[in-house]
Amino acid sequence: MNLIREIWQSIVRRDPLSTDKGKSELVFLNVWLHIHPAKVKKENMKFRHTFYLGFITFFLFLILLTTGIALMVYYRPYPAQAYQDMKDLQFAVFMGTFLRNMHRWAAHGMVICVFLHMCRVFYTGSYKKPRQFNWVIGVLLLLLTLSLSFTGYLLPWDQLAYWAITVGTNIGSYAPLIGGQLRELLLGGHSVGEGALIRFYVLHVAVLPAAMILLTIVHFWRVRKDGGLSRPVWKLKGKKEELVVIGAPAVAVPMQASATSKDKTYGLMEVVSGKPIFETVTPEEEEDTVFSYPYAFVREAVVLMATVTTIMTMSLFLNAPLEELANPAKTPNPAKAPWYFLGLQELVSHSAFLGGVVAPALMVLALLAIPYLDRNPSRRPGDRKLILWLFTIFVVANLALIIVGTFFRGPGWALVPPWVHVVGGAE
């Protein structure tokens, strides 16, 4: 029994969880949990403040990683084989359909959630000082999510994949000067072929996930360092506007080792001068804080399981699409990009250069620059009417374009309402 206890104690070094010390140590003695603070403000964890969209996005990413690795076992990135492997997943691999469905629906879910998360952060003004840079990281993560989804779209090598990527990469080629070369670099040729498949595969399973993981770590780290989860401070009664000071105050007071304790060894944190960059807990807020264990963890666990069960339920009843084997000689009419790029395709159908290059470039630049362009320090919605309206127009316009592109465009990109059945043209 002693040995068992010894083994247990070598793994778990904290005090029992019944004590406050144990609850704290659970968090900061654990490499995975210590991204959390030991104590959280109750107010921060309220569902309606964040809708846990960042968590959901992260959990979807975890589902994608695990199912993706399992799928790699069955997948060969070579045209005819790739398609055959999809069929094998469907017909011969145990739970193969379920696996592929989970990956597919989690991927779509992640694109949606990462976008909703961005909207939430914008509407609550959470990109403002000191969180400007984390917003930039977030925009990069959004772009990475789209790239991951786009590269994954090609891998089944069916007609849907082939033509969506053909159309998608054509949009990219409208960029002046480098557009053509950029497309060729991405495709490893002039058209989507086996070269493109292996490049997309490498991007999808190695390069982009690695970048995603690295930036996600930075993103989470900055959430902690920039003051924890952002909450609608203006709503809190009797609380002053949240202001977090970063870096040294204007007049830096050099830190001195206290003369009274000569033999004390100092940690680095005691040498850094100035206020801490993370949010401090003022005495009046103290009563609002609780230990992360179990308060925050149980909430996160509920959201995790809700995410997993939702994706599983969808995967049980809805099958991921798989069309015919890719056929470069047989263009579907209309050939459509993946749904999240259909807004772009809709713009391109009006003007290739403006819609395919200028608009998306401006969109990305504007998103990246928002925290530095918006000089208004207030996060109260009443003070931010203009910018909220602008952002709402941006969101609605994007959605409208995607909806038009997805449901209202028929053969020859003609405007056809979805309830009108179009008989395929004579072949």
């Binding site: 005819a80 055959q84 069929k87 094998d88 469907q90 017909f91 011969a92 145990f94 739970m95 193969g96 359909t97 379920f98 069916d158 007609q159 179990p294 308060y295 149980v298 909430r299 666990a301 509920v302 399981m305 809700a306 997993v308 069960t309 599983m312 339920t313 995967s315 049980l316 798989l322 069309e323 015919e324 004579a426 072949e427």
Partner: protein, 463 residues
């Protein structure tokens, strides 16, 4: 609230577990397993004793598949159609019934989809029969199935399918190529018809289209040729037989079919022209093969290929160890061989072989047929490990003429030899040269020696 959340977490975890189990159950109960169970019961009925009955019923379920790598096809049809090759299943209910009249086209070698269409990779009925979205080749109905013969049998008449020949003739005589391309030749007004059979438009559609193009394809530029119903069917057959897949050449490369093409390959490979002639073209050492199939019965020719000396005692023709299909293919080629073709075969060779070369060739055949290559190597290189023999391995024969005369070598082959030991106190080496005198005739042994000496010359040149 906290308690509620914890309960919610456990409830959701249970739900997740239930969902995984549901997915596993769904994956574990595919319809093909039911079919296999039913088939086993059918088989078990025939078994008289209880033990074998139980053994049959205990056969674990598994997916059966026929791989056709050259065609990028995998046919899993036999996962459910379990009795296609079993004649005792003649009267069994579908999907277990025996497939009659297949001739050489056994499903385990040819698969099913090359004739029937459908989705070979699929393992449920609907998908496998191809009657689902996004699968362009549904099962071909019984009325049109014979059209598939033309997918491999492209040249000449296919016995039992006059429609194909008639359809082909109509295509070439009615000016179809004016508008349609086929294999790169033809106009471009209508669609390219190369691979039209792979598109597998419904045959009914094709037939109606030939009778009245505009009736099924509004605005079609194709004029109405006023084909009769029979002609429309012939053309439909021909269309269904058109495919991009090189099925014929794939299956002949597998050498499953005793086709004249395969026979010609063998004719070239085995260098028959170095002794034989066709209509005077070729060597004069052995009988002329022109019309040989008329002079002798097929059985006689087959016998001759198996054992030349049995038919012609003292025949110089080597035994080539040809399998049944190969012999049939050679006979098929001989029945169609022409002096022109013999000339073509010859022109790849600089000259006919001399008698000496024939002996060497026969020696080479013997050397490989009697297993000498097993130790001495296909290139006489030796090198097979033989512990405690001098040098530790079976010697190379490339320099044998440096140490022995031809007669000494013949004596070694006749009487065998234990290799000299490396260490006289050590164990006997596992490999030794056996005595061949009771196995090989003196002539065979002489030919092997000739072959060895022919290689010596080359080895010295190389030195």
């Amino acid at each position: 609230m906290e308690r509620r959340l914890q309960q919610l977490f456990f409830a959701l975890s249970l739900l997740a577990l239930a969902l995984i189990l549901a997915a596993a159950w769904q994956a574990n109960t595919p319809s093909w397993k039911t079919y296999q169970r039913n088939f086993l019961q059918l088989e078990a009925q025939e078994e008289p004793n209880a033990i074998t009955k139980a053994a049959v019923l205990a056969t674990p379920p598994e997916i059966h598949q026929v791989l056709l790598p050259g065609l990028q096809r995998v046919d899993r049809c036999t996962t459910c159609h379990l009795g296609v090759e079993d004649p005792t299943m003649k009267n069994a209910p579908e999907p277990f019934r025996y497939h009659e009249n297949l001739g050489p086209h056994i499903p385990s070698k040819f698969g099913c989809t090359i004739c029937h269409g459908g989705q070979g990779l699929a393992t449920d009925k609907e998908s496998a029969h191809g009657k689902v979205d996004f699968w362009p080749n549904p099962l071909l109905s019984k009325d049109y199935i014979r059209a598939s013969c033309g997918r491999c049998h492209k040249e000449g008449e296919v016995p039992g399918v006059p429609e194909l020949t008639a359809g082909h003739r109509l295509f070439e005589t009615q000016g179809c190529r004016g508008c349609h391309k086929l294999d790169g030749v033809g106009g471009s007004i209508g669609p390219d018809l190369t691979g039209e059979g792979a598109n597998r438009r419904a045959p009914e559609w094709l037939e109606a289209h030939f009778l009245a193009p505009n009736a099924v394809s509004a605005g079609s530029a194709m004029p109405n040729f006023h084909f009769t119903k029979d002609q429309a069917r012939d053309l439909t057959y021909y269309m269904l037989s058109l495919t991009n897949e090189e099925m014929g050449s794939y299956f002949s490369s597998l050498r499953l079919i005793p086709s004249p093409e395969y026979g010609r390959q063998l004719f070239v490979e085995k260098n028959c022209i170095s002794c034989h002639a066709v209509g005077g073209v070729g060597a004069k050492t052995a009988p002329d093969l022109l019309g040989v199939t008329k002079r002798h019965s097929i059985e006689w020719l087959d016998e001759q290929l198996v054992n030349p000396e049995l038919v012609y005692p003292g025949s110089a023709m080597p035994e080539y160890d040809l399998e049944t299909n190969a012999r049939k293919a050679l006979v098929a080629y001989m029945s169609s061989a022409t002096p022109e073709d013999a000339q073509a075969v010859l022109s790849r060779r600089a000259r006919a072989m001399t008698t000496e070369e024939i002996a060497i060739e026969a020696g080479k055949q013997n050397f490989s047929r009697f297993g000498c290559v097993g130790c001495h190597g296909t290139e006489l290189q030796g090198g097979v490990a033989n512990p405690n023999a001098q040098g530790g391995e079976v010697p190379s024969l490339l320099h044998v003429s440096d140490d022995y005369t031809k007669d000494e070598v013949i004596a070694i082959i006749r009487n065998g030899r234990v290799p000299p030991l490396d260490n006289t106190a050590g164990p006997t080496p596992p490999l030794y040269m056996p005595s061949w005198k009771n196995v090989l005739s003196d002539e065979d042994i002489n030919r092997i020696a000739d072959y060895l000496w022919s290689k010596q010359q080359k080895a010295k040149d190389a030195w």
